[in-house]
Every structure is written in structure tokens, then in C-alpha cells.
Amino acid sequence: MSVLVVAEHDNSKLKTFSLNAINAASKIDTDIHVLVAGSKCENVCKEVAAVPLVKKVLQSDSSNYENYLAENLTPLVVKLAEKYTHITVSANTFGKNFMPRVAALLDVSQISDIIKVNDPDTFVRPIYAGNAFATIKSNDKKKCITIRPTSFDPAPSSGGSAPIEKIDAVDIPNISKFIKREETKSERPELGTARIVVSGGRGMQSGENFKLINAIADKLNAAVGASRAAVDAGYISNDHQVGQTGKVVVPDLYIAVGISGAIQHLAGMKESKVIVAINKDGEAPIFSIADYGLEADLFEALPQFLEELNKLNTIQK
């Protein structure tokens, strides 16, 4: 057995969630190879080679892979798949986009979004927005798997020295083209990996009011999240959405402000270690899962919250 992990990166840096995927892969088998397909991605390869769990790095460098178009990446992964029993990637928009294409061409039923590896054939995955956990066994000879990164710790990232092997690029179908990416630049920690997340919902009433959330987030060195309702209303951009079809976060502290707690939102945050809910509706479902609930008007509570935080001598970073 051997496992191929497809690394997610931006051509200069490895994305942290790839480390979580590598750790998950190590629960399947210790023979782990990582594919870095990109353009001028030497630095990423070096980063991956330093991960002690990685046995070999496969570098495929081509401008065709610069923007990770699924149509371009798929033939390469399919070709490499010959040599592996498991082909894995983290279950985010990068992995979700191309892995089913690979699986279909290999005639394999993909196993999506696993949260646990029981053995090399058996996995646990959430279904129905995490309201049920299914234990499933794959009978395919080869397995294509996407891994929920937040369910696995990141693999240690230094101390290793895996060899880097160059792999030729594979012909692409030339049916799609990258135009542009609009990324939200922020000095705050990334939502997916932040230790603290402060999220706002429809109760915020406007994008302007998110400054109240931002102030708390800055004080706590936290990421800013949002419910789908807040994103739909245009208060904040889509990359902040937490929930069934947004991001799944598992911070030490999740503060939900003006969020009622629809099951679709809970799906993205209910594994957080400590949950705080601030909502003026005492009956809001969010209170049923919150460790600390504060029934209050957020427009009064948030400024007070900031004031109380300012009074503290130290805040953990």
C-alpha cells in the first residue's frame, strides 16, 4: 500500500491544511508520497520534503498547473494514481474541485470528507450537515478520498528530508482558462486555522456593523467568521462563511454574535472547544450548544465586551 497526497499551495507556500491531510494519510499507511503540481513551485517542494512523515515529493512544474484548474490537474493525478492504493487531498474547494474527476476516470466511488480512518478500507464521515456520522467501507481497489482537515492535527513540518522527484507534466485538454482571483487580504489569522473565531450573523444588520466584530477579533487575535445569512445579505464576503457549505472551523473559542444557530451553521462550528453565543433572542437554538450564553442586545454587549477585554492585563495569543 502507498498513499498519494495532493498538496494544496499557492506556488510559493504550502497551505497548512496539506499538513493535516498528510497526518490523516499516515493513519492509512506510512508510505506517503506528496504531489506538488504547480508553476515555479520549488519552495513548496522544499517545505513538503521537510515534513518527516513524507517519503517522497513528486514535483510537476508547468504553467498549466499554476491555477490548479481541475481539468488540467486531473490527467496528471490519474496517471500517477496507477502506483497508489489511496489518492487523497484535503476536503476544501481545491480538493473538492478535482478529486471527483479523478475518481470518475478511475471508476472509483469517492469517499468525501472523512473525519476518521478506522483502517485502510473503513472511514467515518459526517452526513446530513454533521447530524449523523456514517462508518463506511470502500470495496474499490483504489480509493479516492477527501479529508476534512480540521478533524486531524497538522503533521509536524520540520526535520524531514524526503527526496524530490521531478515528474513530467501531462497533456491538458485546453477547455478551461483561469481569468482572475479576488482574495480577501487580511492581517488576521486564517479562518480555518485560527485559535479564536468571532462570527456575526443576520443580527449584525449591516456590513458597517461588522466593525464591532472586527474590533473584538483584533483584540483577541481572532479570525472573523459569518453565517450564510450575513454573507447572503452582503455584510461580508463569502470566504468568511462558516457552515455546511462554507468552512468548517474547530477553534478553541468560537464566539457567535447575532447568529440564531440554523443546523447548516452549526455543521461548521459545533466541534469548537468552547462556544459563546451572544443573542437577544433567548430561545435561539445557538444557546442549546453554547458553553456560555449571553442573552443581550449585541450593540450593547460588543462594546462592553471590548471594554472588559481592554481591562485584562494579558490576553493569550
Binding site: L69, A70, E71, T93, K96, N97, M99, P100, R101, V102, A103, A104, D107, S109, Q110, I111, S112, T122, I127, Y128, N131, A132, F133, A134, T135, K137, S138, N139, D140, I175, S176, I179, R181, E182, T184, I196, R228, S237, N238, D239, T245, D252, I263, Q264, V274, V276, F287, I289, A290, Y292, G293, L294, E295, A296, A301, Q304, F305, E308, L309, Q316
Partner: protein, 249 residues
Amino acid sequence: MKILVAVKRVIDYNVQIRVKEDGTGVQTDNVKMSTNPPDDNAVEEAVKLKESGKAKEVIAITVGEEKAQETVRKALAVGADRGIHVKADNYIEPLGIAKILKKVIEKEKPDIVLMGKQAIDDDCNQTGQMLSSLLGWSQGTFASKIEVKDKSMQITREVDEGLETIEINLPAIVTCDLRLNEPRYASLPNIMKAKKKPIEQLIAKDLGVDISNRIQQLKVEEPPKRKGGVKVANVAELVSKLKNEAKVI
């Protein structure tokens, strides 16, 4: 231009899921069923393309038991022209569904296939990409904006980093995000009219494609229950608890 839009019947998004005591799945008896929410967005987009004159015909398709026809009927009521129901009594994995859709597409030859980005029951997020791959077509997943040109489409995709724009050649598969549009409700006259629109019925196992399931579901269980905690009286108490009890700040 011809559009095929695929819809799935799932447990309504508002229903609180109950896991069966014997661990074989979730309760579906006497549970409200609806069209998978982002599939409604796919139907809406298809109908809009028809209204704008870009598309000539919209065909709605579903795969599933007899009652799955309701989802096709709903699509007909908001503007699809005709329907196809591929009857299948058992659960079919996304790979099998993709093969069924491919078979139908080879006959119908649509230029664009639209569907939701994910079904809210099995949360697989696979069918569109698999179908696109089997056909050798381009794909635009998690689409929140679609602009159809003569031989291509420009798609704005919701990705983890923000928004991405790609241009894909036709024919293409597009999987729709909930923010793509605002699905309309069917008016009563249109619901009545939809009853007269044709729905062709096909039988999944007679299509000559391998729809065998590869994954065995061993057990379905409730996730660990999270206990609600305490209500605090004011902000000062909250901060004190976070600092001294939970020790997270």
C-alpha cells in the same frame, strides 16, 4: 442552446435529522422531502437563461424512486419545458448517478448541464465533477455568477480564498452555489400547467451502465451530543468565565 438541469429529492433542509436506532440510516418515513436547495438555484438559472433568449429548451432530470418526480414537476412549474425521471428504487452513489446522466446527455445533447454543488443529504459534492470528467467536458463548480457567451461561459466561483473567475468552453457542467440567484416560487396557474408538461420515464437498471455501489454503509450513528452550558448574566461574567474557567483568553 439546450440546458439540462439535474435535481435531487432530499430531506427538507429544515427537518431535524433523526438517526434510526438500529444504525442503518436516518428516519425518512413521514419526513418532509424537498428539492435539494442548490438544485433550486440551478433550475432558476436555467429558466433565466431561457427567458433571456440564450436557451431554447430546459429539461429537468432526476434519478430516484417514484416520488422523486415531484422535484421534476416543481422544476416544470417554474419554467422547465419537459422532464425526465430515471427510476431507481435504491440509493445510487454519485458515480452511478454521473453515469446515468452521461447516458441521457449522449442522447439529449445539451450545451450546458446545471445542478447544485452539493446534496444536503449525503454531502458528497461529487456528481457534477464526475459527470464532467466522464464526458471530457469543462466544469465550473461552486458558481455564484454565470455569464453565457457563444462558445464559452464565464463563471465566478466561490472558493476558500474568495472569488475566482474562469472561462470554460461549451459544452460544460456547472454546479451552483446558493448565492447564484434567488429561486422563484411557482404560481398556482403554473403549477397547474406543469401537470400537463411531459415527464419521460426511464429505468436506471435498463440503461446499460454500471450503477453498482462500491461503498458499504456499516453504521450510521448520532454524533456526540454537545451539552448546552450556562447562561451568563452580563459581559463581565462572560469575560471572567472565559479567562478563569475556560481559560481560552
